[in-house]
């Protein structure tokens, strides 16, 4: 499953902290335990990204990616990936993602991720989320 979250859809964290939550799990009205959330905050460089997560159950790897022409990678099905566009627009499939937009990928479709730059100096912050118990990380735990 793929989620494209446009920056205007971001919401205040509601806890007095800086930045806005762009993606979180659980992101439902269910009874699930909080697992992780990703916030962005506008900065001179574009957007700063902050990830908070439940360290007992979730492992997070962050990577800053310079999309000088294109970026390609294959996601493991058990991983959930978030790509925050930090600077300059990029193209992913049929979507043009502007700075502050977020793409979330989970499950078995899509696993091959290809992002192309529209302009020079495009930058992504890739957040890879994995469950410590070996089960697949999902948008709904």
């Amino acid at each position: 499953m793929q989620l494209i979250l446009r920056q205007p859809a971001a919401r205040d964290a509601g806890d007095g902290s800086t930045g806005v939550v762009v993606a979180a799990s659980p992101d439902t009205f269910g009874r699930e335990q909080w697992q992780w959330d990703v916030r962005i905050c506008e900065s001179e460089a574009g957007f700063d990204v902050a990830v908070a997560h439940n360290v007992e159950s979730i492992e997070v790897v962050e990577e800053s990616i310079d999309v000088s022409a294109s970026f390609e990678a294959t996601r493991e099905v058990a991983e959930l990936w978030l790509a925050v566009v930090v600077k300059k627009p990029v193209i992913h499939g049929q979507f043009r993602l502007e700075a502050g937009d977020v793409a979330v990928w989970e499950g078995d479709d899509p696993v091959r991720i290809r992002v192309q730059a529209v302009e020079d100096d495009a930058r992504l912050q890739l957040v890879r989320i994995r469950r410590r118990d070996g089960k697949a990380a999902r948008w709904v735990p």
Partner: protein, 334 residues
């Protein structure tokens, strides 16, 4: 609780005439009629005199006369006549509602008049475009409007409820892309290399495999546009047989909704037999939805308050739409 600062479909244009018609929208009783010049009017359907509905009354020129004691109101809701006396009480007026009539639908603004922005009425041009042909239906669903939103944002139910018309197991086997852009939520599913759905296959004169797609776009709180169709394998969607399903979902109260439905297609436009087949087939689809959602409403009304839905990944559009609705409702309360 309803989002009132919004445009809702109040009626088909053909339903608004010189015969007053009653609707209840977000628990607000409304009477609809036309002036002698053909302009649609919407007034609160409750005479300020003693609460009698105006809709059983009669039209006198461009005004409506209450059928109980003859209080008469013009199209702005101003009382212009009280038969039993010369003085018109100051409080004798009814609320009037902004209307926009477009492409066969009459839209009503149920909130603060000064916020009514006609440019926010959604695009429905397919209903009046000669390149497209449209089949319409309207239904009363005995369920809350949100269940119809959910139903359209998660089309995996087609695999189970609409097996003879638009359903197939391949639907739930394909993932979705959900996009959230401000208040607008869309859920898009591409199903490459599949057969055409039974209901359209004959009209489309198709054999073999195609790329099927459907993308539901939710314009909260009361309109969902479904872009659907099939195209050649690997070909752009625009080249294919295209369908636009326009869904005007108007709350009546917390457990009842009006469903205004229009199905526009750009293929077989002159094939009347196909249109006839679709009139029947789509009525079946809607009856199946109505049956399912009314059962769901029964299920929810007996469910303990603290029990929540157990959503799955395919519900991403549903969950996002609920969040947007929650946010809009909270904003209106402020």
């Amino acid at each position: 609780m309803y989002i009132l600062n919004a445009w809702y479909v109040a009626a088909w244009s053909t339903e608004v005439s010189r015969e007053p018609a009653r609707r209840v929208i977000c628990e607000i009783p409304v009477v609809l009629y036309r002036t002698e010049a053909g302009e649609a009017v919407a007034l609160e359907d409750r005479c300020p005199h003693r609460g009698y509905p105006l809709s059983p009354g009669r039209l006198v020129g461009d005004n409506i006369e209450c059928g109980y004691h003859g209080f008469t109101f013009d199209g702005s809701g101003t009382c212009v006549r009280v038969p039993a006396q010369d003085i018109i009480p100051k409080q004798a007026f009814v609320r009037s509602f902004p209307l926009v009539e477009k492409d066969g639908w009459v839209w009503i603004w149920t909130g603060q008049k000064e916020l009514a922005d006609e440019s926010k009425v959604p695009d429905t041009h397919w209903m009046s475009d000669p390149e497209w042909v449209t089949v319409t239906h309207s239904f009363h669903f005995a369920c809350r409007a949100e269940l119809i939103h959910d139903n359209l944002l998660d089309l995996t139910h087609e695999s189970f409820i609409h097996t003879s018309t638009v359903g197939d197991d391949y639907i739930y086997k394909h993932g979705i892309t959900v996009e959230v852009d401000g208040d607008v939520v869309s859920a898009d599913r591409l199903m490459p290399g599949v057969v055409a759905p039974p209901l359209y296959a004959r009209t489309m004169a198709t054999e073999g495999l195609y790329d099927r797609f459907h993308c539901t776009v939710f314009y909260p709180p009361g309109y969902l546009l479904l872009h659907s169709g099939i195209t050649g394998e690997g070909r752009p969607r625009e080249e294919g047989y295209l369908i636009k399903v326009l869904n005007g979902i108007t709350p009546i109260d917390a457990h009842n909704s009006w469903y205004y439905y229009a199905f526009s297609r750009n293929f077989g436009v002159d094939q009347h037999w196909a249109t006839e087949e679709l009139v029947t087939g789509l009525a079946t689809v809607l009856e199946e939805d109505k049956d399912a959602l009314e059962w769901q409403e029964i299920g929810l009304r007996s469910r303990p308050y603290d029990v929540r839905d157990s959503l799955i990944a395919q519900d991403a559009g549903v969950a996002k739409a609920r969040k947007v609705m929650e946010r809009l409702l909270a904003a209106e309360k402020q």
